[in-house]
Amino acid sequence: MSYDADLSFVFAHTPKVVFGARAADSVGDLVTELGGQRTVIVTDAFLAGQTDLVKRLGKSLGDRLAGVFSGVIPDPTAPSVDEGAAFARERGADLLISLGGGSAIDTGKAMAVVLTEGGKILEHEGYHALTRRLTPHIAVPTTAGTGSEMTLVTVITDPARGQKTFVGSHFLHPDVALLDPTFTTGMPARLTAATGMDAMSHAVEALISTLRQPLSDAAALQAIELIATHLPRALAQPDDLHARGQMLLAACLAGTAFSNAMVSLNHAMAHSLGALHHVHHGTLNAALLPHTMRFFAADVGDRFTRVASALGGATRGLGDEAAARQAADLMQAFVHRVGLTTRLGELGVPAESLPQVAELSLSDGSIIYSPRPVMDPAEIEALLRQAH
């Protein structure tokens, strides 16, 4: 793989990454390092009430635990963020620990903005408009997929406008991504597969994005290899801490890749299908990915050769497009192997909605990073029909 002569890129710095089984049991040391005296944990009601994860963090924090905000909701809304920030402010929080999947981490990021800058979260929507360090934030993922612990964006839903919006800034990177595989062993199989394939789609799409660059490519390729090897193991042996840990690393690497290179058509379609039919985001990405890979097979040069190799293919002697098609076929087999479908129809997506999905996808921001311009809704609809 090589790069154009006019290559120009920015690779954003990433959080400090602390990895290891039971690493989270020493979270107090990280809080000390960051100068925290009054820590608020940001999580959802299930993790707060039905698991011992908050208790484990609390044990290490001691009297520096100022409160637990358990009001995180899926697809965080602006009011939920403002409520969390008010909770943290009342308790005098000087450090946040987000615990959970992407929604908890995104809520933690957004709360850090409000705690530092004041006002309400929607007053701060924008990209790279923040100008100073935020309330320190440690992100502790309990799923291995979204990569939010590594990204500079928080996605917030504004119910009043009925749309999602972003706050993006290098200051939004958590200070620490604390990756503890013992925090992910409780994930059910289906969620493990779907979040793992979400990470896979982050990596594959970063690899073919028009913003791709050497450093994001390196992270993406490593993520793909880790997922190909360890997602099936994590599914077969849910308590296999090695496999769980490798998946956390893969999600972290894929998050690094797409935070810098972005995602493209696959995510544009998944976002649109999710908005219309409320199917899990990772499940949709998995269903669409092999079809999207075929769609771009002639446009990605030799970039899918290593994807094919990671998935067990042999591409010696094949041209780039043939190797890319082999990678797509292998990806389809891999999706099936981890127990997910590559048929939208099996996810309850009605065929008659596909023209609307195609139109919506065309207006999704991710689409502009596709390896070739996609401007025609009929082209997307045809792709969706193949995936149906």
């Binding site: 890129f9 954003a12 990209y127 790279h128 408009a129 972003f166 921001g365």
Partner: protein
């Protein structure tokens, strides 16, 4: 005659260019999200002593107004995009894609990013039309 960027004359020319372009009428037709403010950061070494703000009031493929504004008035608009003189020059010369520049932090956006990227064709047409103006850049 070349027009200084930024200046009242340049913004007036921009309005004319946009309203005379049938391509912008089509590309900008979906845009109903309000006016854009462009802030050029001060660069004393080339004679730009203070930040300059100009407002482009575009709606459904029509430029209703384009003017230099106070910073206060500019900050009230729904979208405020800020960059250095060099970055804006690169945008006008079509050397820098403004949406990618926002993603990379070369331009800073206050406002709803998805709305901007969903209207990427309108953004491209704005740049295309800016490049048509016979511009004198202060650093040349």
């Amino acid at each position: 005659m070349s027009l200084d960027f930024p200046s009242e004359a340049w913004t007036a020319a921009y309005k004319d260019v946009l309203n005379n372009d049938p391509g912008y009428k089509v590309a900008g037709a979906p845009w109903t999200a309000g006016a854009l403010t462009f802030v050029v950061k001060a660069e004393p070494s080339i004679g730009l002593k203070e930040d300059v703000s100009f407002i482009l009031d575009v709606h459904q493929g029509v430029c209703r107004d384009a003017k230099i504004s106070t910073m206060e008035e500019g900050a009230k608009q729904p979208f405020v995009i800020t960059g250095s003189y060099a970055q804006w020059k690169s945008v006008i010369k079509k050397e820098l894609d403004p949406v990618k520049a926002m993603m990379q932090g070369k331009l800073k956006l206050k406002g709803n990013l998805p709305m901007i990227v969903r209207n990427v064709k309108a953004a491209q047409s704005l740049v295309e039309n800016a490049s048509k103006i016979d511009t004198h850049f202060l650093d040349e």
